[in-house]
């Protein structure tokens, strides 16, 4: 691994101040450190945000669940408040990676990285999340821009993610048996007015499947999407699953999710 300077920031302001065009924020480091070891990324400065107390914790209000950026997956998975307010979100956290990843990896890191197969971005889309950053609030639908790309600007730090509590929801993932990343993961959330069907793993970036959402908004039952065939032309294809298989998996996982709601 190339050498770098490690800094531990005491608050968001200091973290943003320390950042440069050649730096990265470090939280759990579950992607950052392996990427740097493999030479896929290199930075002059790593700015550790783990010690900023304000960035960690879970708050539940009547309408939303707000999770601090450095809150670990294990904390979300075990949180009684999350289990009560949005059980599917706790389930999602429990299915990320392995226990060591969950002990260390953070929600903010997962969202900022926007891996095409990561779990949390689908929760953000399905649960109409608002990403609170050091500068502004960004709606999830405008946050995820493309493969590993987000609306975050250089030096902008995610502070918390606010999820809208749905009427019903479920996340169903077909995991890669080795990494537990989603080959395809579908997060269905029924809100008062409409239904979101957020899909991860299928395309280069998480997305809300408009056809499935529309069908389920009209009739919230798995039979209403039973025979749907999705366009696979822009879906991922790799040794784990072809684009056609992924297209089929999206419908299968969506049906499972609706039935589990």
């Amino acid at each position: 691994m190339k050498d770098f300077n490690y800094h531990s920031a005491k608050d968001s302001k200091e973290a943003s101040k320390l950042s440069s065009s050649n730096s990265a924020f470090l939280a759990g480091g579950m992607t950052t450190i392996p990427s740097m070891k493999l030479g896929l990324a290199s930075y002059k400065d790593l700015i550790d945000i783990k010690n900023i107390k304000k960035l960690s914790g879970i708050k539940v209000s009547g309408k939303s669940v707000t999770i601090g950026a450095t809150t670990k997956h294990v904390e979300v998975a075990n949180s009684k408040e999350v289990k009560k307010a949005i059980p599917s979100l706790a389930n999602l956290a429990e299915g990320i990676g392995d226990p060591q990843v969950r002990n260390r990896g953070t929600i903010g890191g997962s969202v900022a990285n926007n891996d095409p197969s990561a779990d949390y971005p689908s929760a953000c889309i399905a649960l109409n999340a608002t990403i609170h950053t050091s500068d502004r609030k960004i709606e999830a639908s405008k946050f995820f821009k493309g493969m590993f790309e987000t609306a975050l600007k250089k030096g902008e730090l995610i502070e918390a993610i606010e999820f809208q509590i749905p009427e019903k929801s479920s996340y169903q993932k077909h995991p890669n048996p080795a990494s537990r990343y989603a080959v395809v993961g579908v997060y269905v959330a029924k809100h008062k007015k409409d239904v979101n069907v957020a899909v991860t793993g299928a395309k280069p970036c998480v997305y809300n499947d408009k056809d499935l959402s529309k069908a389920l908004s009209n009739s919230f039952s798995s039979t209403s999407i039973q025979n749907m065939e999705l366009d696979s032309s822009d879906m991922n294809s790799d040794i784990h699953a072809s684009a056609e298989y992924r297209a089929s998996l999206v419908v299968t996982q969506a049906k499972k999710a609706v039935d589990a709601c």
Binding site: K2, D3, F4, Y6, G29, V74, Q100
Partner: protein, 153 residues
Amino acid sequence: MRKVTLEINGKKVEKEVQDSTLLSTFLRDHLNLTGTHIGCDTSQCGACVVHVNGNSLKSCTALAADIDGSKVTTIEGLATNGKMHPMQEAFKKLHGLQCGFCTPGMVMSAVDLLQKNKKPSDTEIRDWLEGNICRCTGYQNIVAAVKEAATKM
């Protein structure tokens, strides 16, 4: 370079390290605690699992600098007064290993499991050991060893 202060297996350790020093490198090369193994070095195999503040962590995927001030337990820290930890005893008794390379990580992960779940089912044990790869045993005896240890811990 920076100074890190850690409590490792109950002993205070203060050392100068490079900012980029991995915890696994720190344990093995700086402290000669070579029980922590490096298998894949890409966060997958789990041979390097240690406990940091009571929770299991892959030491190849953390910096010595970013766990500054923490309590670390490695495989060397499990035995007390020369007596093996019940998990180590169980792995020995039930032959939960073959070549032994993955064993330190397996044992450290399994101890973390039993700290959190005193009587895990076979499925819970297998799910928990998701991040620990063994290429010899087929896991049967590892699962049996963890179950045996659960009766002794």
